[in-house]
Amino acid sequence: MDLTPTAEQEAIQASIRSFLESELPMSRVRAIAEGAPQELEAPWRRAGELGFFGLAVPSQHGGTGYSVIEEMLLFEELGRALAPGPWLGTVLAAHALAKAKGDREAARRADVQAGRSRVALIDVEEGASGSEAKDDRFTLRDLVVADAARAELLLVLHGDAVRLVETSAAGVGISSGQVFDATRPVARVSLEAVPAERLPASAHALRRIGTALSCAEAVGASARLVELSVAYASVREQFGRPIGSFQAVKHRCADMSVRAEAARAATIYATLSLRDESDDRDFQLSVAKVLAADAFVQNAADNVQNHGGMGYTWECDAHFFVKRARSFEAILGSSRRHLDAIAARLRGA
């Protein structure tokens, strides 16, 4: 039992961090959010070259041959950097295509792994109104999807089925307007009997991986929020003292770090239980999602408060985290849904 990263994992995480610090610093994230999406292109391509999208894909299929643990480290760093782009959909597509046979799918896999195809994730509950799978065609009405407007592919999870749709296909409608979270812009997606390739993968399995990785992203962001607050509170002075010396601010920072630590420990444990296929992995993932959502949402709000008037400005980065926290809470199951799942387990016990 060891919940700390190995020396190799630490080195991987450090190299990802330094990659993101140089290729996707906050100034570039801001530029992308403020209307220059092309700023993402170079780092995205470079991430593909470095194998970031296929970390857990076996090396005989062109991947890096690591596991979901290394992906977790990647997503923690993505969260820390508040990286824009459809990372989750693309990485899950790489998972879904890992066992693919046939040339077309192998080519797709290569495109996805190389960052040539960006993949937006659509999670449709089975029986959701307006969704329908018929032969090789898929229909879906008016769903809010992150990063859909700039993706080449859509990865559609529907019940336990996994499908890929090309956004250029006839019948695909993607309309985007003003969005709440500009670092993860949503679009309204409608699919009208579009061609949809069924992949030999389980949507439930992909949802589990997606939950673990998005929790890791939230953990990275939550920890980053502690750093941002501590840094500001250490230098900003009022009444002739750094504001971090006031208990109100100090204790708020302490609570932020408690939340970030709890969320991180829960996420690491859940991801390990997923890797090891433990019986309680769904429970552990629900635990992680609840704790991570709490940490991200609360830390983002507390970070605004700690920055005072500055925290309320566009110029300060605090608001991007506030908005992303709400994006996180809204995907792959709200805290409410995960709490209900835990409660059902308690009732059955």
């Binding site: 509950e125 309309s175 307007g177 709440f180 009022q238 009444f239 300060c316 809470e329 409410r336």
Partner: protein, 398 residues
């Protein structure tokens, strides 16, 4: 003790309600263009003025309504209940600048400014906060030295609304850097067209330009613009911070109460896996608690105004009400975003047209949520409010 109003007060309420309903503008400009907004505010204020409703809490001798505290409370309640628009760009003049002149101004200053403020002819802005004097307002450092008949001002102010359209600014400057920090400040009327003033907009987290930074480079202001005594500006500023003595707070309470009702409506039309969100016992109880809290807020405000009416001095509970309100507002907005879930993320009204018909304010929640962050920061953060309650209301040691 009584929760009923007197027959005369009820008549006042009926009169106010009827007038507001008949006269309130319904064509609130959609534009964020401040010139447009100013024209709108001026027209509305002129209407109020001509009908004798302007300056509800101003003394009659200065053209105000001279209403009693209870009448003021009724007025603000009816105003908010009718969702009548606040004259936003005129707020500082009507509620800060004007009242300060009434309390501390010279006859000349009063004659020049008060009628114009009341009619909406002039826009005022506030120059109190500085980048390094927020919570610690008395630590302000914008310097002013006397040079002949002028004050020469150099420094910077921040969080100034409407600086770019205002004619006048209530400005706090440090005129004695050697004195203890509360003792060397002067309150002065700054003409915003003076040479040496530069204004830069500040974008807020919602992406809108709500505030300005104002830079002063040897700005000359006539000495006669000083209000109150030189170096006594802190007391001058404090004397009007509680000018309306809590009555205007009723408008906030009424609006927040409507926000809670909106929240219940949102929950009523938002489907979850198990039915409408309002049928989810947990969500329903959380909304019910917010509804209870906003009702308690009204009772607290009534009680605070009652105390002031009885004693003549502002009630010490004002900071308690402020704190309770600001955190409550955040809880209301946060619960709405939770209920909205993924629908929060799309601000495009066209995209969610199907849903928005059922709930006209659905698209507003994102802005309300972001705006609510300022309520525990602006005009004394929640930490400062708790210090004030602890020290001034409860008498705990500093």
């Amino acid at each position: 003790m009584d929760i009923r109003f007197t027959p005369a007060e009820e008549r006042f309420r009926a009169e106010a309600r009827a007038w507001i309903e008949a006269n309130k503008p319904t064509d609130l400009p959609d534009s964020r263009d401040l010139a447009v907004r100013r024209d709108f505010d001026v027209a509305w204020q002129r209407k109020l003025h001509d009908a004798g409703w302007a300056g509800i809490s101003w003394p009659k001798e200065y053209g105000g309504r001279g209403a009693t505290l209870i009448e003021q409370l009724i007025w603000f309640e009816e105003f908010a209940r009718a969702d009548a628009p606040e004259p936003a760009t005129l707020f500082v003049g009507l509620n800060h600048g004007g009242p300060t002149l009434i309390a501390c101004g010279t006859d000349e200053q009063k004659a020049e400014h008060l009628p114009r403020i009341l009619r909406g002819d002039t826009v005022w802005c506030q120059g109190f906060s500085e980048p390094n004097a927020g919570s610690d307002l008395a630590g302000l450092q914008t310097r002013a030295v006397f040079d002949g008949d002028d004050l020469v001002v150099t420094g910077q102010k921040i969080w100034t609304s409407f600086a770019n359209i205002a004619e006048w600014q209530e400005l706090l400057v440090r005129t004695d850097p050697e004195a203890p920090k509360h003792k060397g400040i002067t309150w002065v009327i700054c003409p915003m067209d003076a040479k040496g003033i530069e204004i830069r907009p500040i974008r807020t987290m919602s992406g809108h330009d709500e505030f300005c930074e104002v830079f002063y480079d040897e700005v000359r202001i006539p000495r006669r613009n000083v209000v109150g005594r030189i170096n006594d500006g802190w007391r001058v500023a404090m004397s009007t911070l509680s000018f309306e003595r809590g009555t205007a707070f009723l408008a906030h309470q009424v609006r927040l109460c409507r926000m809670v009702e909106d929240l219940a409506s949102l929950a009523r039309v938002t489907p979850l896996a198990t039915g409408a969100a309002l049928d989810d016992v947990e969500i329903a109880r959380r909304i019910a608690r917010l509804r209870a809290e906003v009702e308690a807020l009204r009772s607290m405000t009534y009680r605070s105004v009652s105390k002031t009416a009885r004693t003549g001095v502002p009630s010490a509970e004002a900071s308690i009400i402020r704190l309770f309100f600001s955190e409550l507002q955040q809880r209301v907005a946060a619960l709405a975003t939770e209920i909205l879930g993924v629908d929060l993320l799309d601000l495009d009204p066209a995209g969610s047209r199907g849903r928005s018909d059922a709930d006209p304010v659905r698209g507003e929640w994102a802005w309300r949520f972001l705006a609510a962050f300022s309520s525990t920061i602006a005009a004394g953060s929640k930490d400062i409010q708790r210090n004030i309650i602890g020290e001034r209301v409860l008498g705990l040691p500093r």
